[in-house]
Symmetry: C2
Subunit: 494 residues, 2 copies
C-alpha cells in the first residue's frame, strides 16, 4: 500500500473530538468478536422467542438520550440484559418461521468490513471497487440461476423495493410520458392493471399504491389445487380489462409463494404476456435459489422469458439482510425513469461509467456486494446447492412425518423448504373449530420458546407453516420441533 | 439465560452442511477485528482515492462463481489486493466530499452485532426488542433535535425513501382515494404540485416520478443571494397553480442544502403552507444535526410546524449507512396508505402492537436502531454536539483561509460544515474559463490521492465544494488539504 508523505506527517486524531482511541476500539472489536462467536455457538441453548409484553423493553430504557458518554461495558450490560432476551432469535436452529434466517459466518464477516469501509456505491467514482464488485457478484448469481446473459442485475435492499422498480419499468414501457407528466389530471391515460395470483406477495399492492396505479388495479387471479396461477383465468381477466378500455400492464408470476412455495406456470404465463404485450415480472425472491440445484431447474422454467426477476440472496442464499437482486433485460427503462444527475454529483457521474444511482430511487447505497461475495466464495456454488438441497430434504422428511400421523394432514404440496399442515383434533373436524385450534396451536408452540413457527390461511383453512432454511437447522432440530408440535396439540385436547 | 432442555440435547450443527465450524468462525472474527482496527488506525496513510479505470476490478475477478468453497485466506488476499486499493476511502480524514463519512467505532460494533442477530423488525412480534429499541432511539433523537412530542419517528434506509413516504402522505392527505384507485384514468383528480427551492435535493423529483405525480409537477422556486428559498416567489407559484386549476400538494423546505447547506426560511414557509393548506416536508437530512448545538437551534426555527421532517443520522450523527429517520405528526396517513397484512403475517400483526411494516413500502427491516443506540450512548449528546461544533469551526476556519487568499473566493456563506469556493486564476476571470479551471482543479486534486473533494454549480459558477463531517478530520488535515488545493491551482497556471 503506497503511502502519501503528507498523510504520514499528520497524526490521525483518535482522541478527544475524534473517534474512540485506536487501542480501545481494537479491544472492543475483539470483545464483540467473542460476543458474536459465543452468541452463534450457544444460540441453540436460548429460548428462540421471548415472553415480553409490548412496552416492556422501551419502559426499561431511559426516555432521553444520555448527556455524557457511556462506557461500552454499560452498553453491553444493557444489550445482554434487555435487548438479547427480548428478541426472536432468527438464527436459532428451531426458528422455522417466515423464510429461514440467513445469518452465516461469512455474511457476518462481510458486514463487519462493509461497516468499516462505509462507502456509498451511488456512482462508479464514489467507489469503483464497490460498483464493480456489485456487477461481478450479480453476474455470478445470474450464472448460478441460469438466467440468460442479457439480464442485467441491480441490488436493492428488499424485494418490495425491487418489485416497485420492476413495476415502475412496466409503467414506463406503456409510453405515457409518466415520468414528466405523472398520471393525475390527464384524460389520455387509462387505468393500468397488474395481475398476480391470489397467493402472490402483498408487495405487489404496496408497489401499485406507491406508483399511483391503485390497489384495486391489482387483479388477483385464482389458483389451482396446488396454489399455482390459473392461466386461463388470467387470460380471461386480461381480455375483460381490454374490453373495458383498461390498460393491462404487467403480470407478476411467483416462483415460491410465501404461504406454500407454489410455483406458477411461468412459461405459459410468458406466452400470454407476449401475446397481450404485457410486462412479465417473476417474483423468485425465495424460490430462485432452487435453480442452483439441477433437480430444481424446473422451478425456473420460462423465467428466462420474463422482463424482470427478483431473487433475494437474503432469503435462501445465506446472505444477511438486506440484499435483493433485480434482473431485467430492460435496464434502459429504469434509467429512463430514474437517471437524474444533480449539480452536486455532476463531476462524479460520467456516462461511460456504471452509476447504480441511475437505476432507482435510492441514492445512498451500502456496499452490499461484499457480504454476498464472501458468502458465495466461502461455500462455493456446490456448497450453497448442497445446503439448499438439504433444506428441501428436511422439508420433505418433515412432511412425511405429518402424513404418517393420523391427527395431522398436509395442506399443500412440499416443493421447497416450506411445509403447511394442520392438526386435526378428533372432535373438531368442523372448519371454524379446526382453524381456531390450529391458530391457538401456533401460539402455544411459540410460547414454549423452543420452536418458532407461523401460520397462514389456505382456502379458508388455517395452516401451521414450518419453513426450513436456517443454516443451523438439522434433522435432530426438526425431530425435536415435531415432538413439541405433537405434544402441544395433544395437550390442547385434554 | 434459561436453557431449554431439548436444546441442550441437540448438538448445534457447525460442520458439513451447516455454517463454518465454531472455532474457525471465532478465529476469523478475531482476524477481521484486527483487520478493521488496522484499517481504521492506518487509514490516513492510504491514498484516499484510487487510480483504477472502469472495468479494472471486474476484469481481475472470475466471471463465474467458484464451484468449490474457498478459504478465508484466499478471499482476504483478494480483498486486500483488488478491492481495498480501488475504493474511495470515505472514512479517510482527508475525504472531504459529499457529506462527511459517518464511520465510527461504536457504529461498526453495532453493525457487527446486528449482522449476527439478523432479525427483521417488520412486526413487533418478529422482534420485540428491535421494534422497541427503534422507538426508543427515535425518541432520543427527537428530543435531541428539539422536535415536539407529537412527532412520531420511523426509520427508513435513505432520505430518498423517507421523502418518498412523506410525499406519499401528502398525496394521501388530498383525499382522492388514491390508494384504492390510483391516479390514472380519472377525470376527478387534477395534477398535483410540489414546490421546492432550486437548491433542494433531486430526491424530490425521484419521489414525484415514483408516485405518479410527474417530474414537471415539481416546481423549483428561486432562491435569494444566500441560496434560501424565496417565499414570495413560492407564494406566487402556488397561487398561479391554484388559478390554473392545479392542486398544490406540498412544499419541501431544506435545512442544509446539498450544495451549500443553506437553510430555507422554514417558519415563513410554514405560515404559507397553513394559509394554502399544503403539506410541509422539511429535508433536514444533513442540517438537522445542527439542532444539537444551542447555537445551531436557529436552523430548526419553524421546523416544529412541519408535517414531516427527515434527519439522517448517517449523514452528520456518526451512524454508518444506512439510517434515515422520518418524523411526522400524521403517521395515521402512512398507515392509511401502507398498512396491508397478508395471510402469512396475520398471526404476527396485532393492532395493539407497533408494527413498523405498516408505515412503508419495505417489509424486511434490518435492526438499524442498534448501531444508533450504541453511537448515541458512546458519545453522549454532549459528545455528538462537541464533534458537530468542531466540524462547524473547521469549516469556518477553512473559509477564513479562502477569504484571506487573493486568488480564491467564497461562493456561498458557511453555515454548517460545507465550504463552496472558487480559485480565480489571474488570467481567467471570464466565467466559462473560470468554470473549466475549477472543474479541472477538482479532478487534479482528486488525482493526487491525498484529498477528495467534489464540485457543484452555483448560479452558473463552478464551485469547489469541501465538506467537513468525518470524525477523523482535524485542523491539520484541513491545512494539508488547503496546501494541496493551492499548490494544484498554482501548478495549473504554469
Amino acid at each position: 500500500m503506497p503511502k502519501t508523505k503528507e498523510a504520514e506527517d499528520i497524526e490521525t486524531r483518535t482522541e478527544g473530538l475524534g473517534d474512540l482511541p485506536a487501542d480501545e476500539f481494537r479491544r472492543h472489536l475483539h470483545a464483540v468478536a467473542d460476543w458474536v462467536a459465543d452468541y452463534r455457538e450457544g444460540i441453540a441453548s436460548r429460548p428462540v422467542s421471548p415472553t415480553a409484553s409490548p412496552g416492556e423493553v422501551a419502559n426499561s430504557l431511559p426516555a432521553v438520550a444520555p448527556e455524557q458518554p457511556e462506557t461500552m461495558d454499560a452498553i453491553f450490560a444493557d444489550l445482554n440484559r434487555l435487548i438479547i432476551p427480548n428478541l426472536v432469535h432468527w438464527g436459532h436452529p428451531q426458528f422455522l418461521a417466515y423464510f429461514g434466517s440467513t445469518t452465516t459466518a461469512p455474511g457476518i464477516l462481510g458486514e463487519m468490513i462493509a461497516a468499516a469501509l462505509n462507502v456509498s456505491a451511488m456512482t462508479w467514482r464514489t467507489s469503483p471497487a464497490a460498483t464493480e464488485l456489485e456487477t461481478v457478484v450479480l453476474e455470478w448469481l445470474r450464472g448460478m440461476l441460469g438466467l440468460p446473459a442479457d439480464f442485467k442485475g441491480i441490488v436493492y435492499d428488499t424485494a418490495s423495493v425491487a418489485i416497485l422498480h420492476a413495476l415502475a419499468a412496466a409503467r414506463e414501457r406503456a409510453n405515457t410520458d409518466v415520468r414528466a407528466l405523472g398520471l393525475a389530471g390527464r384524460g389520455d391515460v387509462p387505468a393500468m392493471r397488474i395481475y398476480a395470483s391470489d397467493q402472490a406477495h402483498s408487495s405487489i399492492e404496496k408497489a401499485a399504491i406507491t406508483l399511483g396505479l391503485g390497489e384495486r388495479n391489482v387483479r388477483r387471479v385464482v389458483t389451482d389445487e396446488d396454489f399455482r396461477l390459473n392461466v386461463e383465468a388470467l387470460r380471461a381477466a386480461v381480455d375483460e380489462d381490454l374490453q373495458n378500455g383498461l390498460r393491462p400492464l404487467a403480470v407478476v408470476a411467483t416462483v415460491g409463494t410465501t404461504s406454500t412455495t407454489s410455483v406458477d406456470p411461468v412459461l405459459e404465463i410468458a406466452r400470454l404476456c407476449r401475446e397481450r404485450d404485457l410486462w412479465l415480472h417473476v417474483d423468485a425472491a425465495y424460490g430462485g435459489a432452487l435453480a442452483l440445484l439441477p433437480e430444481g431447474r424446473w422451478a425456473m422454467e420460462g423465467v428466462g422469458e420474463a422482463d424482470s426477476i427478483v431473487v433475494n440472496p437474503h432469503k435462501w442464499l445465506f446472505v444477511p439482510l438486506d440484499f435483493s437482486a433485480l434482473y431485467t433485460r430492460r435496464p434502459d427503462l429504469l434509467r429512463r425513469i430514474f437517471a437524474l444527475t444533480p449539480e452536486y454529483l455532476r463531476g462524479d457521474a460520467s456516462a461511460h461509467e456504471e452509476n447504480y444511482m441511475d437505476y432507482g430511487i435510492q441514492l445512498g447505497r451500502r456496499f452490499r456486494a461484499l457480504k454476498a461475495w464472501m458468502v458465495f466464495r466461502t461455500f462455493g456454488r456446490e456448497g450453497l446447492a448442497a445446503r439448499i438441497r438439504e433444506h428441501c430434504r428436511l422439508a420433505r422428511l418433515f412432511a412425511s412425518w405429518v402424513e404418517a400421523e393420523d391427527n395431522f394432514r398436509l395442506l399443500a404440496p412440499v416443493t421447497m423448504g416450506v411445509v403447511c399442515f394442520q392438526a386435526m383434533p378428533n372432535s373438531q373436524h368442523e372448519t371454524t373449530l379446526a382453524n381456531e385450534f390450529n391458530a391457538a396451536l401456533v401460539e402455544r408452540i411459540n410460547r414454549t420458546g423452543k420452536v418458532y413457527l407461523t401460520r397462514t390461511e389456505l382456502r379458508g383453512q388455517t395452516a401451521v407453516r414450518l419453513a426450513v432454511g436456517n443454516i443451523l437447522t438439522t434433522e435432530d432440530h426438526l425431530k425435536n420441533a415435531w415432538d413439541i408440535i405433537r405434544s402441544e396439540a395433544e395437550r390442547m385436547q385434554k
